[in-house]
Symmetry: C2
Subunit: 412 residues, 2 copies
Amino acid sequence: LVVTKRFEVLSIGDELLDGRVTDTNTVRLAHALSAVGAHLSHRATVTDDLDDIVREAGACAGRGTTTCVVSGGLGPTSDDLTAAAFAQLCGVPLQRDATQADKITAMLQGRGRSVSANQLKQADRPRGAQLLNNDQGTAPGFAIEYGGCRFVALPGIPKEFDPMVQDNVVAHLAGAQPVLRRALYCFGLIEAEVDRRLAELSTRFAGVRLQFRVKFPEIHVTLHAPPAAEKNLEEAFEFARGALVEHVYATHAHGEGLARRTLAMCQERQATLAVAESCTGGLLSDLITDVPGCSATYLLGVTAYSNAAKVALLGVSEASLQAHGAVSEPVVQQMAQGVRRSANSTFGLATTGISGPTGGTPDKPVGTVWIALSGPKETQAVCLHLPYGRRAHKEVSASSCLNLLRRHLLQP
Amino acid sequence: LVVTKRFEVLSIGDELLDGRVTDTNTVRLAHALSAVGAHLSHRATVTDDLDDIVREAGACAGRGTTTCVVSGGLGPTSDDLTAAAFAQLCGVPLQRDATQADKITAMLQGRGRSVSANQLKQADRPRGAQLLNNDQGTAPGFAIEYGGCRFVALPGIPKEFDPMVQDNVVAHLAGAQPVLRRALYCFGLIEAEVDRRLAELSTRFAGVRLQFRVKFPEIHVTLHAPPAAEKNLEEAFEFARGALVEHVYATHAHGEGLARRTLAMCQERQATLAVAESCTGGLLSDLITDVPGCSATYLLGVTAYSNAAKVALLGVSEASLQAHGAVSEPVVQQMAQGVRRSANSTFGLATTGISGPTGGTPDKPVGTVWIALSGPKETQAVCLHLPYGRRAHKEVSASSCLNLLRRHLLQP
């Protein structure tokens, strides 16, 4: 017996259509579904209007959808109409769940808040619907069948929505279609080049599905396969690793994030780090300090925007600045050496360049960036020529610095 | 004659439903429409499937929609099916526009690229459709009527989509409903509090519409009104300014961005700035250096994560660190004074706190942050108690620092 499954999402809320909120639930739902081999066919977004919700849910079932995730409209206020809409669609009354009402009362009283009639409304569900537990908030979800479709209504708040998708949608599918997953996190290639290098993968390794996600300036590649194709998946993973070579900074075994991976490699070696920034302006330091526990490795960052600060705090020589300019190989090397010396760290990283929009010259156009790594044995510098805008120049330069250190740490 | 207008958006593309891309066009379209008093009633997103596009476009007209903006599916590849779908919906053949085909050929040859059959496919449109000019790319848009609805099909790439929305949707509406706009950019209030303070605005000032946008940690408030209500709009603007008082860091006259506004105020006074960061980890410096031209004002940033760096580079006293800990009023003041001295700047800003997830104590729980401003006359410090996560603690602390300086500069 082959059942064709069709998945949709129905998001409800004025804030999704008036410009206040960008819908990010759909992207995360799509990722969660694709991890178990399922795919969204349609998204509909409607305002907090009872008739519109009822009409769209009916249309969804009419398109042969088997599972529709409904996001939003379950809260306490008068514009939260999801339960009422599904009661109307299914021709059943709303019922208050006494256990749930007690739970809401206990939760609010525990926080020292009073319990209003609106709050208790969150315990109302269409008769016959299954209540879905919400560990993160007061509004439970519910599931109800209509026209051959299972509607799974969940709160739209991401921290409540995501675990409830796992428990009430993915877990059901995972039983039927478990999927294995391998990931390669890459930096240093554009999407078209990753695409070209992996073009034959899907045809060469039967059962393996390939997915890209651009998280600028990184690209994340994921391979999916059913358990029966596990051998093919492992071979495809090795093929992809061979094709992307040194651009793979981490795999599923490590988790994503170039800063996180580089800091973990430093910590394994008990190495410490300091950074001197000019054109990246503090972003490199910001990326490093977004990693929890970074204080074991990261000692000091200096953003030396003025030449005076480069001389006074980093020991850059006035002569080098005059002879070569602030954006030059000697200056970036002295910056990396200087911050390493100041912090007494194992490694020093540095950036100096022209982020734009102004400041370019014929010799050094906007996008010219020098980066350097100074270590116990030597100092190396690399020149980048970037074609982006100011913010992206900062992002690529900061990540290139981390990558320079990562690749150095890979050497025996 | 009153015509009820109904606006929808139909986005087309596998990448919008498989987790690769977050749809941001809808939010920007909603903003563009709301500026001329129009509102989206529905969004549908479908995959690159001819039948699904045709069905959804038909359903859209069936819902009484008068204008539907169609986003995507106009490119050169075989999965770009928007023109074919509307030809089928309207029962007309596809026709190639010779002028447009010549234009595409010239544009590609001008870039030294060959012209493939796929590229010329972008000149195909349903017979009877109006071609819409695209200054930014090779694919023109088109407009076609069906079932009482004007479908305006545009490329999905934001830099092409946005100006074409202005030219082909907003401009048509603007003629009928020109709208005046006033903005207040705020920092330091939660959304619920802004909402409460402005609750009576819409009823008190007829014709004035209020809109919020949360750009964490800022809130942007916009007021819209037709020209006939200009006097009410000005009064509503003054009312809002009075209600939000010192939390308004800029208006439409200045433009958005707390860092941009604060730097502009420094530059007016020919003041210079340096920052010393601990818990914000470089983010404050990153925000400042995202402002083009910041180098006229911004001299130096020091991210002193280790106590040793706080002592050596910022002149914090070992005794203060031992007696009060790194997260304390004396230490944050010495950091601000120290970086100001190092950079020889007019002002020094500093942050030190516990971002989390670990590092909290009963006395100083996660979210405890000291910020300080040191100037020519005095040094002031403020303690924040923040309830968010690591990244948000950094964001609020960095913005609070900028705001401390901004408010100081407002004093006579």
